[in-house]
């Protein structure tokens, strides 16, 4: 698998994502600076990392979405190259129009950093195939603006197309307002595009890839990507 991690000024999970990709694939991904106007040939996966690109000033992800490299990311996504956006990466992908909806300030206005339970909804993508439908996984979140918004019509479309990948849930898999950590509509924690080739998610799979860090529920995602894209 040939993977690249985009680096914006203010990205801070770029290294974490690279470590996770390397751990699964045995090969360090290419680190791509935001000013690049061309991406290397033959990429299988582009990862847009978490952090505070441009300080998240104005709106999270807004400025990064207009970086030169994002034009290329869009072009590659159209060609079917897999794109993974985690946290700030998810915000950037929505701002760039690669994924629908918007991410707003958390309902209780506070930054939240802790492990959360997610219910896996769609297992038909290269990212989520190793999980079973309805499985409960534990990933950390660390965000201030993770409150997913889509208006009624858009929400219906996303749900109808099976674009919801993960929902915030309880340890037993219940999805309710009480398990909704940030006010996201329908508890949505991650979505894919219509083709299932672009995934954006607020939780950080790259942060739980070995028991020493408190769990390894994120590891299968990277292993599966390597398997599907090699």
């Amino acid at each position: 698998m040939k993977a690249a991690v985009i680096v914006f000024p203010g990205s801070n999970c770029d290294r974490d994502l690279a470590v996770a990709l390397e751990k699964s694939s045995g090969k360090a991904p290419i680190m791509l600076w935001h000013r690049e106007t061309e991406v290397p040939q033959g990429l299988d996966l582009i990862a847009v990392p978490g952090g505070f690109s441009y300080g998240d000033y104005l709106r999270s992800g807004a400025m990064a979405a207009h970086s030169p490299v994002m034009r290329e990311v869009k072009r590659m996504a159209e060609k079917g190259v897999r794109v993974l956006g985690v946290c700030n990466g998810f915000q950037i992908l929505t701002e760039a129009g690669l994924l629908p909806g918007a991410l707003m300030r958390n309902r209780d206005l506070k930054f939240i950093c802790r492990d959360v339970h997610l219910k896996v909804e769609n297992t038909e993508t290269a990212f989520t195939r190793p999980y079973t439908k309805g499985q409960v996984v534990r990933f950390p979140v660390a965000h201030h603006d993770g409150n997913f918004f889509a208006d009624d019509e858009l929400l219906k479309r996303i749900e109808g197309n099976g674009q919801v990948a993960f929902r915030y849930a309880g340890a037993d898999g219940t999805v309710s307002d009480a398990t909704n950590i940030n006010g996201s509509r329908n508890n949505i924690a991650g979505i894919v595009n219509g083709k299932g080739t672009v995934l954006g998610m607020m939780p950080h799979p790259e942060r739980l890839i070995e028991p020493k860090l408190g769990g390894a529920d994120g590891k299968p995602m990277f292993d599966a990507l390597v398997e599907a894209l090699s």
Binding site: P9, N12, G55, F111, K212, L213
Partner: protein, 573 residues
């Protein structure tokens, strides 16, 4: 007629005696810019004039200490050619005035102290003291400080992994915000601040200079009173995004061989950084102040020398490396300007469009700043508590009271607002004893903690000082770490009062004794005095930050019970 009136001298926080010394050193009357420089350099905050005598008594040496107090941060050997670099620093007064920005810029400042030495910051901690929970301002201050610390650390991408919080009415009008950063560097890539090389360029990098916090450094050393309201506009706004860029750009430049010396512009900005670098290297400096990148129009040399704008650094470069360095900073979209050269005169010459606007001898200011042996009286021994003084409670009632006590209640509400996992190496998360961060790509880690129990220090400064050191030691050993060294943040009231000075002296003695007994030296620290409102001093609070090494991350311990049927054992007396 003299331009410098006694009022102007007083406004600059200098006593009549200190001003006499200024006249002696200058051999003439200073101009306003020069006076401003003296006032900043001789403030308590920069000169440690009341505390120096006692800080010198602390044990600072051990075979693993690479650099003790005196540099931007302390440096210890942690094996495999790596060094841990760390320090704790206070941002008390600014955080009381503007909790979010005060706390945020406090984090920014301590981060710079650490990465300026070549270390990538790997962990932040924060030791906080607030007034009583039912005081009208406490809620606002707690939430502002916590979101400010989070807002800065989260954005910069350094995990905030631990800290401590106490509540006591003595902090009602004077909270304490002490921030600690721990970084890791290659031992052969540690950078110091001593300037060297006549003719070498002096370079300014980072954000532009504005009129932020002019007189902030003098404010941090003056007792609070009702008119501190007026000093309000002196609060700076932090820009963590720029700080993140500054870290990356400095790391990139540090990987080359272009830097001779480097120092961040902390409190007292350009003044203290240029004087300290020059004084340590025995050099003179000529600065062209009109070359300093400016955010606002109409700035004066006085303002440029005293501004406390954040996210700025001063460096001495190897000649000929300017263009390469400039390219790195421009890539990270930061300002870069050659603003001066090193000379052999031992003097600081300030120029403004070619004209000399200040000319001061460096050493008498920096190294020979006043030092006071302030009178002190030992804290009288508190009467011993007798068993009969204690009302006995049913154990479950006692337990409920303990759990409900603000000093013991869960801190989850706080640490969940801090990204404590970014960088992917947090092995021991907050909530236990010391927190543990792994050394990247290894199976070793650093155990870090901050501790102090101010009411113990108040009752008996010597024993309380010892206890604070011992608690960090225990927290580190409890997770399987080998305690190596500490940083201290001495927060006290007005040192001109002999009882307060006595608390300070006692705490230093206790800390020193504990450090010697444990072979656990002090490698860096910070002093914050005049923590008083309307004459009421805070509890004496020598916060201790401890750092230890975990040699094998497969051999650590954590707090949670792991399984049913396990046996509980109580150690100690």
């Amino acid at each position: 007629m003299s331009k410098i009136t006694p009022e102007i001298v007083a406004q600059h926080g200098l006593t009549a005696d200190e001003y006499k010394l200024v006249l002696d050193i200058m051999g003439r009357e200073p101009n306003l810019t020069e006076l401003g420089i003296f006032s900043v350099m001789w403030s308590e905050h920069c000169s440690y004039k009341s505390s120096k005598k006692w800080l010198k008594t602390l044990p600072t040496k051990a075979p693993w200490v690479i650099c003790g107090p005196g540099e931007n941060a302390g440096v210890i050997d942690i094996g495999e050619n790596l060094a841990a670099i760390f320090k704790m620093e206070s941002h008390n007064h600014p955080s009381f005035i503007e909790p979010y920005q005060g706390a945020a810029t406090g984090v920014g400042g301590i981060l710079r102290d650490v990465f300026t030495m070549g270390a990538r910051p790997v962990a932040n901690l924060n030791a906080l003291r607030f007034g009583s929970p039912d005081h009208a301002k406490t809620r606002h201050l707690v939430s502002g400080v916590v979101s400010g610390i989070g807002g800065y650390g989260n954005c910069v991408g350094v995990p905030t992994v631990g800290g401590e919080v106490n509540f006591h009415s003595s902090y009602n009008g004077n909270i304490l915000v002490n921030a600690m950063t721990v970084g890791v560097a290659q031992q052969d890539k540690i950078f110091y601040s001593a300037a060297a090389g006549i003719g070498n360029p002096v370079v300014y990098v980072g954000s532009k200079t504005g009129r932020d916090g002019i007189h902030g450094a003098t404010m941090a050393s003056a007792e609070f009173n009702a008119d501190s309201e007026e000093k309000r506009p002196t609060v700076q706004v932090g820009d963590p995004f720029t700080e993140k860029l500054l870290i990356e750009a400095c790391m990139e430049l540090m990987a080359t061989d272009a830097i001779v010396a480097i120092q961040d512009m902390g409190a007292a900005g350009l003044t203290s950084s240029s004087f300290e670098m020059a004084s340590k290297g025995g050099m003179g400096v000529e600065l062209e102040l009109d070359k300093v990148p400016m955010r606002e129009t109409g700035m004066t040399p006085y303002e440029l020398m005293l501004s406390e704008s954040q996210e700025r650094m001063l460096m001495v470069l190897v000649p000929g490396k300017e263009d390469m360095a400039r390219a790195i900073f421009e890539k990270w979209e930061l300002d870069f300007a050659v603003i001066g050269t090193l000379t052999d005169t031992g003097r600081m010459v300030l120029k403004w469009h070619g004209e000399v606007v200040g000319d001061l001898p460096i050493d008498p200011l920096a190294a020979a700043s006043p030092e006071y042996d302030r009178p002190w009286i030992p804290t009288p021994k508190a009467p011993e508590v007798q068993p009969s003084d204690v009302t006995e409670l049913a154990w479950n009632e006692a337990l409920a009271r303990l759990i409900a006590s603000p000093d013991l209640a869960s801190r989850r509400w706080i640490w969940e607002q801090y990204d404590h996992m970014v960088m992917g190496d947090t092995v021991g998360r907050p909530g236990g004893d010391a927190s543990v961060v792994r050394l990247h790509r290894s199976n070793r880690g650093l155990a870090v903690t901050t501790d102090c129990t101010p009411r113990y220090v108040k009752a008996d400064p010597v024993e309380g000082g010892k206890q604070a050191v011992a608690e960090t030691w225990r927290n580190i050993t409890a997770v399987g770490g080998r305690p190596l060294a500490i940083t201290d943040n001495m927060n006290f009231g007005n040192p001109e009062k002999p009882e307060i000075m006595g608390q300070f002296v006692g705490a230093c003695q206790g800390i020193g004794e504990a450090c010697i007994a444990l072979d656990y030296p002090v490698v860096s620290g910070n002093v914050s005095l005049y923590n008083e409102t309307a004459g009421q001093a805070i509890l004496p609070t020598p916060a201790i930050g401890g750092v230890g090494l975990v040699d094998d991350l497969d051999k650590t311990a954590s707090i949670p019970f792991k399984a049913e049927g396990q046996v509980l054992v109580l150690f100690g007396q």
